[in-house]
């Protein structure tokens, strides 16, 4: 089983990202499970959402403590929350930032930074970074196919909005693929 933990702030679409990644993974033929860290949602407050992937039915119901993958939607969280806690060796951390990192990830963990905010502002016109980061996740991990992500976005959003989000996801996907 592989596990993903998404850190964001209320309003950034972390839960939606978890759901859509799970939908795309299931579309690709694996069992998946997505759920939020249950709390009282407030805009701007630190939030978490989780996804599990497995080749068999997922029974585990606890939260995710030792993820293979971490997505950080807002790099200002890094000083407030221990976002890298428990990440597994060989894991991948994706951080949305335009800056050079002034933090380190645990040994044996790959750090990918991407300026998802700028990508989202250009493609969508709003600083909603979740779909760009989904594209980066697809490219970095191979857990989901881009075509499945596209399908999930088309299913979730009205046509025009879906197209903008797919465009954002594609830019991020290509950047991460190109860097690999």
């Amino acid at each position: 089983m592989r596990e993903l933990r998404i850190h964001g702030r209320g309003g950034q679409g972390s839960v939606t990202a978890a759901e859509l990644i799970a939908v795309a993974a299931f579309e690709g033929g694996v069992f998946s499970q997505a759920f939020p860290a249950f709390g009282v949602e407030r805009r701007g407050a630190p939030v978490q959402a989780f996804v599990r992937f497995d080749d068999k039915k997922i029974r585990l119901r606890s939260q995710v403590y030792e993820p293979n993958y971490i997505i950080v939607q807002d790099s200002t969280l890094i000083k407030d929350v221990n976002v890298f806690m428990g990440v597994r060796k060989g894991g991948i951390v994706i951080v949305n930032t335009e800056k050079k990192p002034d933090y380190t990830v645990p040994e044996g963990v790959k750090l990918i930074t991407i300026d998802a905010t700028t990508i989202a502002l250009k493609a969508i016109g709003l600083p909603i970074t979740n779909t760009s980061l989904m594209g980066a996740f697809a490219a970095a991990t191979g857990e989901i196919q881009f075509s499945a992500l596209e399908k999930a976005l088309n299913h979730r959003f009205p046509k025009e909005l879906a197209a903008k989000n797919i465009a954002a996801a594609k830019v991020a996907f290509d950047i991460v693929k190109g860097a690999a």
Binding site: A18, F35, I58
Partner: protein, 384 residues
């Protein structure tokens, strides 16, 4: 067809396919997504039902009582404080023998206020006469609604039922669910046809008062109906299995229990985590198994005694506490095992959303090997 969707959505879809004629509910976290989805179904013509919006839960269930007595298939959903506001009506609905089905997205009771999961709410109403089903995953949570209608409406039963699933842990989780079709459900679930109903042309009364010469017998009849429900569940659950491939004929289920030394007894979504922990303990040579309780009312005492007869010790997990006594399940399991020498240890855990991990289950097995004293598991000593 397998579809990945939110638990609440899968449940709302199953309820829609059961063709309830009257729905009355009041929103409360974490149940709200279900009644919102049903309101949409009614508004956009996907479900031909009367959707009665009300000012609170007391009115919601009262509306269901009236509608059910008039011969309509009825549905509501609630949790926690909302269920407590319905408590008076719950006893009445059961006493009037009205097969209302209600989804309970299990949540802790305040005070202190908690929106998080445990099973205190439905357990607090275990004596109200409602049948109580508990789901391990969203597939069960969905399927059990069909089973509940089928059993509750059977003329041998005519009692209301809770379909319980852990709030947030199941209600807000996306996972694959085999979604049934209208054709499937219509084949399984016949139209509601109560033995008695309100009819202006042939007037009768529901819920009149019973003097001391009569009351005891009413309660006896309800208790008999609860006990008959075991056979009706067996039959309806088997039929479900034959039609859809998932057999719900058993009120309890064993997992790697046949040769187990230590049995864990649990109910609801925690069973999934327990199963994963058991597989890991088995790989280390520890003989541990699970007895999962799917039906808490009627309580499967004889079935449990039989399934546990060979084990050396039992650990019972309760996401509830009868304050001043014990967890509700451990009391029932001890009663079921009365006369046997198998030690039973009760654990109250996971209250108010405290997460339960595989490592906790493993520690519980170790603690159970040491002695049978009941305990609260996972207390933060620094807070006491």
């Amino acid at each position: 067809m397998m579809e990945i969707t939110e638990g609440s959505h899968a449940i709302a879809e199953a309820v829609r396919l059961c063709r309830p004629q009257v729905i009355s509910a009041y929103p409360i976290t974490p149940q709200t997504h279900i009644v919102e989805a049903l309101a949409d179904f009614v508004a956009n013509g996907q479900l031909d039902a009367e959707y009665i919006t009300v000012e609170n839960e007391l009115s919601a269930l009262s509306a269901c009582v009236g509608a059910s007595a008039a011969g309509s298939r009825t549905y509501s959903a609630t949790t926690s404080q909302g269920l407590m506001l319905m408590a008076e009506v719950c006893f009445n609905a059961a006493g009037m023998r009205l097969p209302i089905i209600m989804s309970i997205a299990n949540r802790a009771m305040g005070a202190p206020l908690s929106i998080w999961n445990d099973q205190q709410d439905s357990i607090a109403l275990r004596d109200s006469g409602w049948l109580q089903f508990y789901a391990e995953d969203n597939q069960e949570a969905t399927d059990l609604h069909l089973l509940a209608y089928k059993v509750a409406e059977d003329h041998a039963i005519q009692l209301p039922a809770f379909v319980c699933f852990d709030g947030f842990i199941l209600s807000h989780t996306y996972e694959p669910v085999d979604m049934l079709t209208q054709q499937d459900v219509d084949k399984y679930l016949p139209k509601f046809n109560p033995s008695e109903r309100l009819d202006a042309a042939d007037p009768i009364s529901f819920g009149m008062y019973a003097t001391p010469e009569y009351y005891l017998e009413f309660r006896y009849e309800m208790d008999q109906a609860q006990k008959r429900a075991k056979d009706v569940i067996a039959k309806a659950g088997k039929e479900f299995g034959a039609m859809f491939g998932r057999d719900y004929s058993a009120l309890i289920e064993g997992y790697r229990l046949e040769d187990a030394d230590t049995a864990i007894v649990a109910m609801g979504s925690i069973c999934g985590t327990v199963k994963d922990a058991i597989d890991e303990m088995r790989a280390d040579g520890k003989k541990v198994g699970l007895l999962k309780i799917r039906v808490f009312r009627p309580f499967p005492s004889e079935e449990i005694a039989k399934m546990l007869s060979h084990v050396k010790r039992v650990a019972v997990l309760d996401k509830n506490i009868s304050l001043g006594a014990k967890g509700a399940t451990v009391m029932e399991v001890r009663d079921a095992l009365y006369g046997s020498t198998i030690p039973v240890k009760g654990y109250v855990l996971g209250l108010g959303g405290r997460d339960v991990r595989k490592r906790n289950i493993k520690e519980i097995v170790e603690l159970t090997e040491k002695g049978p004293e009941d305990m609260f598991y996972g207390l933060r000593k620094e807070l006491i």
